[in-house]
């Protein structure tokens, strides 16, 4: 595809074909990214986390031997040759109530201890990670596709379409993202959504994906629109228009490939932001709904056990920090490789 694509450098100045580098812009960027050690380590860590989370059912069934979605208040486990209850009678205060078992550091049983319902935190962490990653990933894809459509339409066609879309983006941009997410979530959480062909049940994972996929669209669509507007005025697009190339062909063959770099730069950074947003919504109990788990819901589960069994809240938080940090470092690397002058700067919420 690189042959067809006018690289960004060619847009600005007409480089004679002979002096053009032998390698296309994508290959150059990939080489640059590969030589970025920090970004490669971050990518490796991220892939490792994804792999671990994918192994969640395997871990729960064959290693930890428990069902992380069923409460286990009266269960006992073997620990160092002794049978230990999962929920210990509380020794503090009046001795009423139960305290879940703390981290056993034994990979086969309650490695990170139990939560308030006697469920294995380690197994839930892996299952929760799957949901957190899926939501972050799919909502990122949704956000970028929507933003690309809005940016292309507004930037290329201009006129009334641009006016309407730009005003809509202005409003969404000024609307604090969390407040928008909270409004959408609270309305949709109890009844789901039902607009024509789109029908999402309440409590479905698609709901947080849908909400997070929408709220950040302006942050991506605005720079895309600006880029498309500049490209529409560029000589190669004017030439294509002059030759009578149909609009859809210009959009997809001439303009889209040129904003592709921008979109790709956004991928890891948006995933990081989306992951933080998902965890915050789940922590506020308007994201992932029980019995499903995500890192945010586990932190919430751990909130009341914070002083007695801090591991329940600490572990998922550490998982989030490592994953988001890896994505941010990777994102910096991708940006340096594809957009050396760092024109794009992303706001974090």
């Amino acid at each position: 595809m690189t042959d067809q694509v006018a690289s960004p450098a060619n847009v600005a100045s007409e480089t004679p074909a002979a002096s053009r580098p032998a390698r296309g812009p994508w290959a150059t960027a990939l080489r640059k990214l590969r030589s970025d050690n920090a970004a490669m380590v971050a990518l490796l860590i991220f892939l490792l986390i994804v792999a671990l989370c994918l192994l969640a059912p395997f871990y729960a069934q064959y290693v930890a031997h428990n069902d992380p979605f069923r409460s286990n208040l009266s269960g006992k486990i073997m620990l160092a040759g002794k049978r230990v209850p999962v929920m210990e009678s509380s020794t503090e205060g009046l001795g009423l109530g139960f305290t879940p078992i703390g981290p056993t550091w034994d990979i086969t049983a309650y490695f990170l201890g139990a939560d308030g319902q006697g469920r294995d935190v380690a197994a839930r962490l892996l299952y929760g990670g799957r949901n957190s990653l899926v939501i972050a990933g799919v909502s990122t894809a949704m956000c970028l596709v929507l933003a690309a459509i809005v940016g292309l339409v507004a930037g290329f066609f201009g006129g009334i379409a641009d006016w309407v879309l730009s005003r809509l983006l202005d409003v969404l941009w000024a609307f604090p993202v969390y407040l928008l997410a909270i409004s959408l979530s609270i309305v949709l959480i109890s009844h789901g959504i039902d607009i024509g062909p789109i029908s999402i049940n309440a409590g479905s994972l698609s709901l947080p994906i849908f909400i997070i996929g929408i709220i950040y669209v302006p942050y991506v669509a605005r720079p895309i629109r600006g880029q498309v507007m500049a490209l529409t005025q560029s000589e190669f697009v004017l030439a294509a228009i002059g030759l009578g190339v149909p609009n859809h062909r210009i959009l997809f063959r001439d303009i889209l490939p040129n904003v592709m770099t921008t979109l790709i730069v956004f991928v890891p950074l948006m995933m990081a932001i989306n992951m933080l947003t998902e965890s915050a919504l789940s922590f506020l109990s308007i994201g992932v709904q029980p019995p499903d788990a995500s890192w945010g819901t586990i932190i919430q589960d751990g909130q009341e056990l914070l002083y007695t069994r801090p591991m329940v809240a600490l572990a998922p938080g550490i998982a989030i920090v490592i994953t988001v940090l890896a994505l941010n470092i990777l994102g910096d690397g991708v940006r340096d490789a594809l957009d050396p002058r760092s024109k794009l700067r992303i706001r974090t919420a």
């Binding site: 409003v171 000024a174 909270i182 949709l188 506020l284 989030i320």
Partner: protein, 323 residues
């Protein structure tokens, strides 16, 4: 300059109108369920439902419903909660606003000072271990969920290390009004301020460093160096001054994200009864009128704050006055 100000204020009003329409549509016109049932909360009786339907004009066209709603939110301010019967929502929101403002203002001062210090230090020692450490710490700060950091802070200062000399001064969670107990107000807010500022300090430090490094390539910096000025003076008097414009813009944008997001989560974790905590409690009981009011007031506040920052920007940057 006057033209720019009028234009910005007009834009502000338009955005406020847009947000109010959007919030209205989300709460009243989202397909899927009867809006009356949403407003009335869980297990509402048929009589309540009928009353809500009549009260909010659900049998009338959408524009009328919108006008009725805005009237209740901003003019008569008599929107009531149905979960806590008869509880007037708007005065409740205004009552708790000082808590949120105290939290946000203190944190903002801290993160701007901290961020500028980090950025300057990193730019001055570019390429050194200190620079790399600061930038990495900044990135970690940006990558942490703020509510989780708050919980870790609580774990350390309220429980695990509360008895040590370091954190013995940390009072119980909660808020003390500035007017009646100034020292209590300060002490209870120190840890929340630090928590909230950590996130943004890193971000600002990183952005400022990038800006300063970029400014270092400019001709006017070379001129300053050729004049024989000291590096510190060049950095602070010449490079920092232009970079601060970026920081001001960023501040305006983040302030919004903060009031609506991070501050809400911080309030929840530290038990500060502000607008965020009010929203959170309403979320748990599905009390939609309260959520709608807090969302509307908080976003309007943010929009106004952003407009003010932009006006400040007009004053700071002479080029914009001309445009």
């Amino acid at each position: 300059m006057l033209g720019a100000i009028v234009k910005r204020l007009g834009q502000m009003l338009f955005v406020m109108f847009g947000i109010s329409v959007l919030v209205f549509l989300i709460f009243f016109a989202t397909p899927g369920a009867d809006p009356a049932a949403r407003i009335a909360g869980r297990n509402a009786s048929p009589e309540t439902l009928a009353a809500v339907r009549k009260d909010f004009g659900f049998d009338r066209p959408l524009p009328v419903q919108y006008a009725l709603m805005m009237n209740r939110l901003f003019v008569t301010q008599d929107l009531t909660s149905f979960v806590n019967r008869g509880w007037k929502v708007v005065p409740a929101v205004i009552d708790v606003a000082p808590v949120t403002l105290s939290l946000v203002t203190g944190a903002a001062i801290l993160w701007v000072i901290g961020g500028v210090a980090i950025g300057l230090l990193a730019a001055a020692t570019r390429g050194s271990i200190l620079d790399r450490t600061l930038m990495m710490l900044g990135l970690i700060g940006v990558s942490m969920p703020v509510y989780w950091l708050g919980e870790v802070m609580n774990l350390i200062t309220q429980s695990r290390m509360h008895d040590s000399w370091l954190f013995a001064w940390v009072p119980q969670l909660g808020y003390k009004p500035l007017t009646s107990d100034p020292s209590g107000w300060f002490l209870t807010l120190v840890i929340p301020w630090i928590t909230l500022a950590t996130l943004y300090m890193g971000l600002y430090g990183r952005v400022l460093r990038a800006n300063l490094v970029e400014a270092g390539q400019e001709d006017y910096i070379r001129t300053a160096r050729a004049k024989g000025l000291s590096e510190t003076r060049i950095l602070v008097r010449h490079a920092l001054r232009t970079s601060l414009i970026t920081i001001v813009t960023l501040f305006g944008l983040d302030f919004g994200a903060l009031v609506g997001g991070a501050a809400l989560l911080t309030e929840v974790v530290f038990g500060l009864q502000g607008i965020g905590k009010l929203t959170y409690d309403a979320l748990r009981s599905l009390d939609l009128p309260v959520i709608m009011a807090t969302v509307m007031y908080a976003s309007f506040f943010v929009v106004v704050a952003n407009a003010l920052v932009d006006l400040l920007y007009v004053v700071l940057d002479p080029r914009i006055r001309k445009a």
